[in-house]
């Protein structure tokens, strides 16, 4: 073997919880240095473009929050499910359907209902996401079909459902047969923070929906740490035998976990269509539902770690764009960089839970296998 030995720490190292991400970033910088130098780019400029530039002005910070917000929201919902060993992979599809529900409400009623429309859309979005997640929950809880496969397959179906709607019944008659709905009126849009008098956000796209996410963080924490249902889900995930013994319904767990994830994804869907997009088209979510899975894992399924992870992922995306614009770095390289950073982060986490020692030890005498 390689001559390193890991011993599990009695308690996760507090110091390492802060140091390991720093070490990961440092390692990525070192490798990135080599990569950028090989590409003929000044590494300092490249890192500046990646990490500093995107957040160097109010607009940048607003965009960072705008991008991190749906990632955080969905990840919070998914993490609750993952802790309960319910693997909802279909957040993308639930987001589509949630956005579609909200759109249906908007384009049908936006001229009839006034200010009440947006709250109704928010509720509709959550219901839409939950409805789509319910299909998976049903298949898993009642029919024992694996939720990973069902939720993933349903994501593709959700995409097609939305395409059907915008190419068909919901298509804007003025749109020259292009797949768009009518643009939403003001009462169907989340108000911009700038328009509410928060002048620091003037000129940015940050809107009221950020508060949905901000509210979701303590709610998720509270649910996981303090409610009985949260406890049941947790036990169901950690020790299913004990959960059954205690009478916690396994089916109930699946339903609750899927519905929470679906609601979160559906809400995120509303914040997109009623936010920066202002309408429904056939290609509007750049994989948020899947990125949120990484965010949940990176945030260690913790309602306090997830917002940080979401900010990091959002920064990586924005940095990749900035690197393209400022340095003409190919998009592929920014993906490489993202992947590297993520893998270093994950690798360095070992230091939190384990002590690493160099040992000189002979290969252990192998029992016949």
């Amino acid at each position: 073997m390689i001559g390193f030995q890991l011993t599990r720490r009695a308690r996760p190292s507090r110091a390492m919880q802060w140091l390991s991400p720093i070490l990961a970033v440092a390692l990525t910088l070192v490798v990135g240095l080599a990569v950028f130098a090989a590409l003929g780019q000044a590494p300092a400029r490249a890192f500046h473009a990646f990490f500093i530039e995107p957040v160097s002005d109010a607009n940048g910070i607003a965009e960072l929050l705008l991008k991190a917000s749906p990632l955080c929201l969905i990840a919070l919902g998914l993490a609750i499910g993952y802790r309960a060993n319910v693997w909802n992979i279909g957040a993308e599809g639930q987001m589509y359907i949630g956005g579609a529900f909200a759109t249906g409400l908007a384009i049908t009623f936006q001229h009839d209902i006034g200010m009440a429309l947006l709250p109704l859309m928010i509720i509709a979005g959550a219901i839409g996401g939950m409805a789509w997640a319910a299909l998976t929950a049903f298949c898993r809880a009642q029919l024992k079909a694996d939720e990973i496969l069902v939720s993933l397959m349903l994501t593709y179906v959700a995409n097609l459902v939305v395409k059907y709607l915008v190419y068909g019944p919901w298509q804007d008659p003025q749109a020259n047969n292009f797949p768009l709905t009518v643009s939403f009126e003001d009462n169907a849009l989340f108000p911009l923070l700038a328009s509410l008098g928060w002048s620091w956000f003037d000129g940015t796209r940050l809107n009221l929906s950020i508060f949905l996410t901000l509210a979701a963080i303590p709610l998720a924490w509270f649910f996981v740490q303090r409610t009985f249902m949260g406890f049941k889900l947790e036990v169901g995930g950690l020790a299913p035998g004990a959960a059954r013994y205690a009478g916690f319904s396994a089916r109930g767990t699946v339903w609750v976990a899927m519905l929470i994830g679906g609601a979160a994804a559906g809400l995120a869907g509303v914040t997109e269509v009623a936010g920066p997009l202002g309408q429904l088209n056939d290609r509007w979510t750049p994989g948020y539902g899947f990125t949120a899975i990484i965010v949940a894992a990176l945030g260690r399924l913790n309602p306090l770690g997830i917002p940080l992870a979401a900010l990091l992922m959002a920064l990586l995306y924005l940095g990749g764009e900035a690197a393209q614009i400022t340095l003409q770095l190919p998009k592929a390289i920014s993906l490489v960089f993202q992947g590297l950073l993520l893998m270093f982060l994950l690798g360095c986490e070992v230091l939190i839970n384990f002590r690493v020692k160099r040992v000189a030890r002979p290969a252990p005498a192998a029992a016949k296998t």
């Binding site: 965009e63 395409k163 190419y167 020259n176 997109e272 997009l277 202002g278 750049p286 764009e321 614009i325």
Partner: protein, 359 residues
């Protein structure tokens, strides 16, 4: 003033004047391109990037053209476009339909920047639309197909039921029927712009139903590849695809953006930026049928070249009557031609196309 002070003042003045004129003369115009796919897609974005490279070559030193690739058409687009405008790009070309509203939104905040949006239909005082008439080379491809097809059945692998695609199907079929009035076209919708696996299976389905010449408006060469594997013929789309499948390849339908981009930037350099919406085809040099296969009979190549010349001279419009729809009704009367607006929102199949438009 003491001599040396005068000298110093003079030197400073001269240096300052030189600096000012140097800045004024040498600062290249910053322009930017927003791409929906990767430049390596060998298709739509690849063609735009060829145009950008041509622009840089034609106006060497006077322009600095950068690009951002793989920009999703949702909320991210607005951010990228805005970023480019903030960074001082004077002309921004957004090369996909899905950037339409984002372009308009950003244009409002940057009245001094010129925006050019491809394949859209909304314009503004500083947002100009441009598009190419892919249906013209598609018609020419139809002529070739009409001559080559032995089964009398053509196949079209189509992405989405939008006017741009429908008119290509129609033009292809009409071109083929001008040679063989009995030819029909089967259409398969794959509901994606790029998915080689799906495109391949669509081509296999069409070939299985007897199609022996295929055309597609999706972004990979999978259809062409499949055609070669199965011993039938096909065309390239968006770029010269002859290298992929030399035996099956008949010709490639391409957009040529370099000329337009050069014109647009030159106009801006001259202080008179282009504001007229442009929908150019073969005549304006914005479309072409290239790499016509040398295996084709001389007569066919002559016929295609002749038709191309007619289009280039403005003597032949693809959508000039009489044209019947595949439901039997007359869509364009004899002596009349569809207006650009009608072509832009076309929603019927021409006679010879099998089936109905999905709706």
């Amino acid at each position: 003033m003491k001599r040396w002070k005068a000298g110093l003042a003079g030197a400073i003045f001269a240096a300052g004047a030189a600096a000012v004129t140097a800045v004024g003369a040498a600062d290249p115009l910053k322009v930017a391109f927003v791409y929906v796919g990767p430049v390596g897609d060998g298709g739509w974005t690849f063609a735009h990037d060829l145009g950008r490279k041509a622009l840089e070559k034609n106006l060497d030193g006077k322009v600095k053209a950068t690009f951002v690739e793989n920009v999703p058409e949702g909320a991210d687009a607005e951010r990228v476009i805005r970023d480019l405008a903030t960074k001082g790009n004077q002309l921004i070309f957004t090369t996909s339909f899905g950037y339409m509203d984002a372009t308009l939104k950003v244009a409002k905040s940057f009245p001094k920047t010129e925006f050019y949006h491809a394949t859209g239909f909304k314009s503004a005082s500083n947002v100009t639309i441009y598009n190419s008439r892919m249906y013209e080379p598609a018609y020419l491809s139809g002529i070739i197909a009409g001559n080559v097809s032995k089964s009398g059945v053509l196949g079209f692998v189509a992405s989405f039921p939008i006017p741009e695609v429908v008119r290509n199907i129609d033009a292809f079929t009409m071109g083929a029927r001008s040679v063989n009035p009995k030819i029909t076209t089967k259409v398969v919708w794959v509901n994606t712009w790029y998915d080689p696996s799906k495109e391949r299976q669509a081509a296999e389905a069409l070939i299985g139903q007897g199609a022996d010449v295929l055309l597609q408006n999706t972004d990979s060469s999978a259809v062409l590849q499949t055609a070669q594997d199965k011993g039938v013929h096909a065309f390239g789309w968006d770029s010269d695809m002859s290298a992929y499948a030399p035996k099956a390849h008949l010709a490639s339908n391409v957009e040529v953006w370099g000329g337009y981009y050069t014109r647009a930037v030159q106009a801006a350099l001259d202080g008179k930026p282009l504001h007229d919406n442009v929908w150019g085809g073969i005549k304006e040099g914005m479309n072409d049928l290239v790499a016509v296969s040398p295996e084709l009979p001389e007569a066919v190549r002559k016929a295609v070249a002749a038709k191309k010349a007619e289009i280039a001279a403005g003597k032949f419009a693809v959508f000039s009557g009489p044209i019947k729809g595949n439901d039997g009704t007359v869509k364009v009367a004899a002596g009349k031609a569809l207006t650009d607006k009608e072509i832009d929102s076309i929603n019927w199949y021409a006679e010879g196309v099998e089936g109905q438009l999905p709706k």
